[in-house]
Structure formats: structure tokens, C-alpha cells
């Protein structure tokens, strides 16, 4: 038997290591640069008024006010969209898992979801707009939530499906062996087992929704007021960034960076919170 060449194998190992370290450097540099930019440009104009007040007259010309309307608007939109996507998302993921090998119908759903994941959000925006018109709605919180739910559904369902796939078959059998029905097993055992992963899936979908501008552009509208009903238009942070950046006034542009910073902070806090929650829920998980 011929000995494989040791030198070549060590060289291989070295090249792969260098490649991994380079990738790491690229990621760290990009992330730091983005964070640095929004911190450097946004931090000076970040103040309490910004997160406690709605825009006053002339805000976009550099006068008093804040973007509480966009902060709350974004949380309403993304939160509502995530919940609305969750309702069909869990049964859909359970369906795909239970019937994945048997039915061409399940494969079709799978393929559709993969395709939907890759569709740009402006298309969802246009689709949401069409639905809105068909339902006789105006640009509103409700229309925005519906559109975001469509945007989130494929991401959420895929993420939940991947977590459900990790549930050991024997765990389901343990429940079935006690005389549980498949439905009882899914609801009481599988859902419990995937709870930490479910939180992560929700966080991913929420993060995608809160950062999306194109899908809420036509459907949620934009307003300086905080909505008090589902049928009123609502502002959102990505659009707040966009509108402020588009003004010719440097101080307003600086506020755009501050808004971007706020958006990043919200996403960060949500990620951190979901991590903690997920870790807490992992106590019961069977490995």
C-alpha cells in the first residue's frame, strides 16, 4: 500500500486554516466597519428626544422632534408580521416534516418556499399592494403586517422545518408507544422539543421584517403620528432612514445614521433576548 504524501496533507491543512482565518477577518472587518460608521455618524445626534418624541413641524428640515413614530411603527409591523406568519408557519412545517417522503404535494410546497425565500422584497411589496387594493384597504398597519407576514412565512417555515428535522424519531416513538396520537405527539412533545429553535426562527424572521423597507413602502405608508388602529398608516425605521438621508441638510442626514443605529440596537436587543430565552428553554431538551 502506498503511503499518502504527508507533506501535501500538511500543506492542505495549512491552506484550509489560512482560508478560514481570512474569512473570519473579512466578517469581523465588515461588521466593525458598519458598526463604526453608524456609531461615528449617528451617535452625536442620538438623544433622548429622538426615542421619546414624534417628528414636530419642520423635523425634516432640522427642527425639533424624534422618530418614536418609526420605532414603534417598525416594532408593530415586524411583531405583527411575525405573529401572523407563525400561525400558518408551524402547521406547515409540521406537515412538511410528517409527509416529506410520501407526497409530491409536500415537495411542491418545499420548492415554493425555497423560491419565495429568494424573491426580492419589492415584489412582496407589489403583491401586498395588489392584495390591499383587492381588499379595499389603504396603506395601513394591517396591510403592512399582511405583506410582512408573506415575506416572513417562507423564512420562518424553513427555519422551523430545519429544527423539527432535528427531533429524534425515537422521541416521537416514545410518545406514540404510550398510546398518544400523532397529533398529541406533535403538539406536546415535538413543539416542546423545538421551543428553543422556534425562538431562533422567530428572531430570524423578525430581523428580516424589521429591516425591510421595500415591502412596507406602498403598503404601510408613512406618517408622523403613532397609529392607534390597524387601519391607519404607520412609519417604519428603514423608511425613516431613507427619508432623512434624502434631505439636503447634513444634520438631518446625521439623524438618518442615528436612526440606523437605533434599528441596529433593536435587532441586537431582540437577538440577545431570544438567545437568553432560548437558553432557558433548552433545559428540558432531550439530546
Amino acid at each position: 500500500m502506498k503511503q499518502p504524501n504527508r507533506k501535501i496533507r500538511h500543506l492542505e491543512e495549512f491552506i484550509v486554516k489560512v482560508f478560514m482565518i481570512l474569512s473570519l477577518v473579512v466578517i469581523v472587518v465588515c461588521t466593525s466597519y458598519i458598526l463604526f460608521t453608524i456609531l461615528y455618524k449617528g451617535l452625536p445626534s442620538l438623544n433622548l428626544a429622538m426615542i421619546t418624541q414624534t417628528p414636530k413641524g419642520g423635523y425634516y428640515l432640522g427642527k425639533e422632534g424624534g422618530i418614536l413614530n418609526a420605532i414603534l411603527g417598525s416594532i408593530y409591523l415586524a411583531g405583527g408580521g411575525t405573529l401572523a406568519a407563525l400561525v400558518p408557519g408551524i402547521p406547515l412545517a409540521l406537515f412538511l416534516h410528517s409527509y416529506r417522503q410520501h407526497s409530491s404535494w409536500a415537495r411542491l410546497v418545499q420548492l415554493s418556499l425555497d423560491t419565495l425565500c429568494g424573491i426580492p422584497s419589492i415584489v412582496y411589496g407589489a403583491f401586498g399592494f395588489a392584495i390591499m387594493v383587492a381588499l379595499g384597504l389603504r396603506a395601513s398597519l394591517l396591510a403592512g403586517i399582511i405583506t410582512l407576514a408573506f415575506l416572513e412565512l417562507p423564512i420562518l417555515t424553513r427555519a422551523i422545518y430545519e429544527v423539527i428535522r432535528m427531533v429524534p424519531e425515537e422521541l416521537e416513538h416514545a410518545s406514540l408507544g404510550l398510546g398518544a396520537t400523532i397529533f398529541e405527539t406533535k403538539i406536546q412533545i415535538v413543539i416542546r422539543q423545538i421551543l428553543p429553535g422556534l425562538i431562533t426562527a422567530l428572531q430570524l424572521a423578525f430581523g428580516r421584517a424589521i429591516g425591510d423597507a421595500a415591502s412596507v413602502l406602498f403598503t404601510a405608508g408613512y406618517t408622523d403620528r403613532i397609529p392607534v388602529s390597524l387601519f391607519q398608516p404607520v412609519a417604519s425605521l428603514p423608511l425613516a432612514v431613507f427619508f432623512q438621508m434624502n434631505t439636503p441638510f447634513p444634520e438631518v442626514q446625521q439623524r438618518a445614521y442615528a436612526s440606523a443605529l437605533l434599528l441596529t440596537i433593536i435587532v441586537f436587543v431582540i437577538s440577545l433576548g431570544s438567545r437568553l430565552l432560548s437558553a432557558r428553554l433548552s433545559r428540558n431538551i432531550i439530546k
Binding site: A174, G177, A180, I189, R192
Partner: protein, 257 residues
């Protein structure tokens, strides 16, 4: 059949054939499994022991591509009759798996899970009493009585297997099936489980699968020896062990395969 109930063999298997796709995994099995005894299904890996075991609680239904012919009677009821309620059947026939899988919840809830499913107990006090009773029966109570509400996942594998036993007993089965139930356990835990089985046979009919000859000798009242999907020999333990009629049984006992 009504006269046989509670007297004759607990499980009767008649002309059972099982196919996975084109492969025949069990060939014309005919057996009577006695009541209130430990029956051990013995044989080398891949001989169809587990398939036979899982045909008794209809776990074969869960696999794709399985074809089953023949009949299995439990207390005279044909369990492959479409009128049989699989849920009820699996409540009557508990299964202990090779590797214990606790449910993702507390120790207490693991035992209570089945009782809640089947609405065996609606009273909290009564439930607590029953949970304790079954944990005692499985020989786990003294070790965990102070941490009933902690996650079951934190128990050792050996403790989890006894928890699975308690959980299975809690739905009041008549028959306990066990599939190589000590193979994932350390020797002390394995001993624990074996001792429990010997105690439990007073109240249950027990059928276990093993490829460990010494374990079979320690536990068996009745032995079924299988090879390549067929039952080669079956009978009371002392007969099969001391005086095997078939050459292949003898060869297996002597460790030839």
C-alpha cells in the same frame, strides 16, 4: 376465543410474514407467548427479533414500505383487524426502547404524561400518589424524590431507562415489550433493570429481545430462538437452554455465531 381470556397464552402469533420492500424480514412465525412470564427472544443481530417485537404493538405501522400478513391475537383480539384502535392497543402494550428517550419535560411530567393522555386520573393529589407509586415500581423514586420537577434530561442514562419504565407502567399496560433495553446502560444500571423485570412479571407479561445469552439465562422463563427471520426453536427456558433440539440453537449457545 372468549374462554381463553385471562387464561391461555397472552399473545398468539399465526403465520406472520413481514416484508420490508422486497426483503422478507419475518417468515411464517407461529408462537404462543405465555402470560405472567418473561419471554426472551434470542438471536444474532439482524435476525428479525426487533421486527417481531414491534409487530406486537403495531410499531411496524410507523415504517414506510412494510407489508404484513398473518395474524396476532392479544387476549384473543386480532390486533391487525381494522376495527382495533391502535391507541388503545399501544396503551395495553408498553414498549421500552434500546436507548431511553425521556420526554422534554420534568421527571414528574414524564410519568404523568401518559396518565394525562388517557385521562386516567383527574385529581392532583391522586396523580402525585400515582407518580410516586410508578417511580417506586421502577426503582427510581429514592434517587430522585427531591428533584421531581427538574428536567428529565439531567438524569443519567440508566436512570432515564428506569424513568421510561415508570412512564410506561403508568398507563397500566398488560404487556411490556423491551428491545435490548440494557445495551446502552452501564452494568449496575443494567442489573437494576433486570431486577425490576423479575419483580414485575408477577403483574405483567414481559417480552424482551436480547442477543446476550447470559442475560437471557438470568431472565427467561420462555425462550424463542430466531435466526434469519425464522423461529428456529421455542419453549420453556430450561428445555431450550439445557437441551436444545436444533443444531443451530446449540451452535448459537456455544458461541459459534
Amino acid at each position: 376465543m372468549e374462554t381463553n381470556r385471562f387464561m391461555g397464552p397472552h399473545v398468539q402469533i399465526r403465520h406472520l410474514n413481514v416484508f420490508y420492500g422486497r426483503d422478507q424480514s419475518l417468515k411464517d412465525i407461529n408462537l404462543d407467548i405465555p402470560r405472567g412470564q418473561i419471554t426472551v427472544i434470542l438471536g444474532p443481530s439482524g435476525c428479525g427479533k426487533t421486527t417481531l417485537l414491534k409487530s406486537i404493538n403495531r410499531f411496524l405501522d410507523l415504517s414506510d414500505n412494510v407489508r404484513i400478513s398473518g395474524q396476532i391475537f392479544v387476549d384473543g383480539d386480532d390486533i391487525y383487524d381494522p376495527k382495533i384502535d391502535v391507541i388503545e392497543l399501544r396503551k395495553r402494550i408498553g414498549l421500552l426502547a434500546q436507548r431511553p428517550y425521556s420526554l422534554p419535560m420534568s421527571i414528574y411530567d414524564n410519568v404523568a404524561y401518559g396518565m394525562r393522555l388517557h385521562r386516567l386520573c383527574n385529581n392532583k393529589k391522586e396523580m402525585e400518589k400515582r407518580v410516586q407509586h410508578y417511580l417506586e415500581e421502577a426503582g427510581l423514586w429514592s434517587e430522585i424524590k427531591d428533584r421531581l420537577h427538574q428536567p428529565a434530561a439531567r438524569l443519567s442514562v440508566g436512570q432515564q431507562q428506569r424513568l421510561c419504565l415508570a412512564r410506561g407502567l403508568a398507563v397500566e399496560p398488560e404487556i411490556i415489550l423491551g428491545d435490548e433495553i440494557t445495551s446502552a446502560l452501564d452494568p449496575i444500571s443494567a442489573q437494576h433493570i433486570e431486577k425490576r423485570l423479575l419483580d414485575l412479571k408477577k403483574h405483567y407479561s414481559i417480552v424482551i429481545v436480547t442477543h446476550i445469552l447470559r442475560q437471557a439465562k438470568r431472565l427467561a422463563d420462555y425462550v424463542i430462538f430466531m435466526y434469519l427471520g425464522e423461529v428456529i426453536e421455542h419453549g420453556p427456558a430450561h428445555e431450550v437452554f439445557n437441551n436444545p433440539k436444533e443444531q443451530r440453537t446449540k451452535a448459537y449457545m456455544e458461541g459459534q455465531f
